[in-house]
């Protein structure tokens, strides 16, 4: 087992870096497993990792249709935070935050978790009141939150337009200092390596083409690499949830798939050492260690399974950035891309047993799934291993919509494109 340490780094440096072993194996599928996890993204890989680590279930396969990290885990804007209003959400995301704080040690893999703070800007007194209320709820539930004044914000980020003549003057903000960013690819690779070391088979280029059923019970899947049977089949496929569940005969879910675009600018010198969100639109930006500004905004706004977006949102997001940082007007956009988000009807996720016997479902993360990667996998592994939810994910059922027990942090109602 090639542990990563300063000694292994030195040893490999002196041998010309020719002796590094691949971080995970490329096994052939076995005919059957105890658990199959469909989806080799962050949540699927962390589920497999915690199944092996916490519950001793190592006869597990993770099925990924493309290459590892080709979906949303490699497409997000890397922010990690737990500043939610409702207790169900805070408990889930704060559990995740605590796991992030020890994740690099746990995985022996540097996920570059950086608690650089996430600041939500307020531009109206009503918005600031609302932030104060949310901040109090956050503190009450055990996470951290603090209101900042315009002077503090201007000191923190000199590039921001904090003048009273800005189109939307900044009158304060809500900061979570323990929030921050993580290297998204490293999270996928770290979990993959950790799961692989514990015996989990990671099967790339293995697309699920159908489900094998015995009566109502799901007993396996057919894939592009043959038939694979399992006692338990777990689905963690984010934006493809509707498509995959349709193959299992579930034609309707409280989910719509929408495309979200993200952008990276050319590399700049250190300019912004926190993540900041605009309060008069939907815009968030942080700066990577490499210097590029990583930013994004709203969904394109219509159902989409295409991993690319349209131009009106490109214009809108960039104009919002310039409203906050006029000095960036001549900075060039390096890349933009789209990811497919599983938008749920109340903006909160679903981590549950079912809906069919032998099946487990993890979906509905909207565009906030990355920050939840550790807790999502941890809770989902518990649910799969014990056949019942952990108290943290017990509220996040599939039937909560029909029972009237929705968890709508934003109070937006069942219009998923607005969450």
């Amino acid at each position: 087992m090639a542990e990563y340490s300063v000694f292994s780094l030195l040893r490999n440096a002196f041998s010309g870096n020719r002796d590094w072993k691949p971080a995970w194996r490329k096994p052939d599928p076995k005919p059957s497993y105890d658990v199959i996890v469909i989806g080799g993204g962050g949540h699927g890989l962390s589920t497999a990792y915690y199944l092996a680590k916490e519950h001793g279930i190592t006869n597990v396969a993770v099925l990924e249709k493309g290459y590892l990290g080709s979906g949303n885990v490699g497409r997000n804007t890397t922010a990690v935070r737990s500043n939610y209003l409702l207790p169900e959400n805070i408990h889930l995301y704060e559990h995740s935050m605590k796991m992030w704080e020890n994740l690099s040690h746990d995985l022996n893999y540097n996920v570059m978790f950086s608690q650089r703070g996430v600041l939500n800007l307020a531009h109206t007194p009503a918005q600031l009141d609302d932030y104060a209320r949310r901040g109090n709820a956050i503190i009450h539930s055990g996470a951290d939150s603090v209101l900042m004044t315009p002077a503090e914000i201007e000191w923190l980020m000199p590039g921001i337009d904090a003048s009273g003549s800005a189109r939307f003057p900044i009158i304060g903000g809500l900061m979570q200092w323990r929030a921050g960013t993580a290297r998204h690819d490293a999270v996928a690779w770290g979990y993959a390596r950790g799961a692989d070391r514990r015996g989990v088979d990671i099967l790339e280029n293995c697309e699920v083409t159908g489900f094998i059923k015995d009566g109502d019970r799901v007993v396996g899947v057919t894939t592009t690499r043959g038939e694979i049977r399992a006692n338990k089949v777990a689905v963690a496929v984010a934006g493809s949830t509707g498509h995959v569940m349709n193959m299992a005969g579930i034609d309707k879910l409280p989910i719509e798939s929408h495309v979200l675009q993200a952008f990276v600018s050319e590399s700049l010198k250190p300019f912004l050492d926190t993540v900041v969100t605009f309060g008069m639109g939907h815009f968030y930006v942080g700066q990577s260690d490499k210097g590029g500004l990583i930013y994004g905004g709203d969904l394109d706004g219509y159902n989409s399974y295409a991993q690319r977006g349209n131009l009106p949102i490109v214009e809108e997001v960039n104009s919002e950035m310039l409203a906050l940082f006029p000095s960036l007007a001549r900075v060039r956009v390096l890349r933009s891309w789209g990811g497919v988000c599983d938008m749920s009807m109340d903006g909160s996720p679903i981590i549950t047993t079912g809906p069919l016997p032998g099946m487990y479902l993890n979906c509905g993360w909207c565009y906030g799934g990355f920050k939840a990667t550790p807790a999502s996998g941890w809770c989902f592994a518990y649910t799969i291993a014990k056949d019942e939810p952990h108290p943290i994910n017990a509220p996040f059922t599939l039937d909560r919509f029909h029972r009237g027990a929705i968890i709508d942090d934003k109070g937006q109602g069942s219009t998923p494109r607005l969450h």
């Binding site: 949830t241 309707k252 879910l253 409280p254 159902n303 399974y305 919509f401």
Partner: protein, 100 residues
């Protein structure tokens, strides 16, 4: 993405507002069938492929349109007036042209 409005011709998507899934049927307003209302409010087909949806040409003639669009390729195969497809907010309270 261009949507061809039956009145105005091909126009940019930014002129339109998305009104959502056009596969849903609103139950009779007098209905007290809770499951039917739950299904109407929360359950979606969410297909990867052809999708029936309602758009409004809000930056143009303001007509509500029923559009069939492929959610994977964005190819639009048909556009018609939503009223012709029977999409009304409430069929129970529809007025004919003469009454209105």
């Amino acid at each position: 993405m261009l949507i061809t409005c039956p009145y105005c011709g091909p126009r940019d998507v930014s002129e339109y507002s998305y009104q959502g899934d056009g596969n849903r049927t609103r139950p009779d307003p007098a209905s007290t069938d809770q499951e039917a209302w739950n299904a109407y409010v929360y359950d979606r087909l969410n297909p990867r492929g052809e999708h029936h949806e309602i758009w409004q040409h809000s930056g143009g003639c303001r007509a509500h349109l029923k559009v069939t669009r492929n959610t994977l390729t964005h190819v639009i195969s048909s556009v018609g007036f939503a009223r012709d497809a029977g999409h009304r907010k409430s069929d129970g309270h529809r007025k004919t042209g003469a009454e209105a």
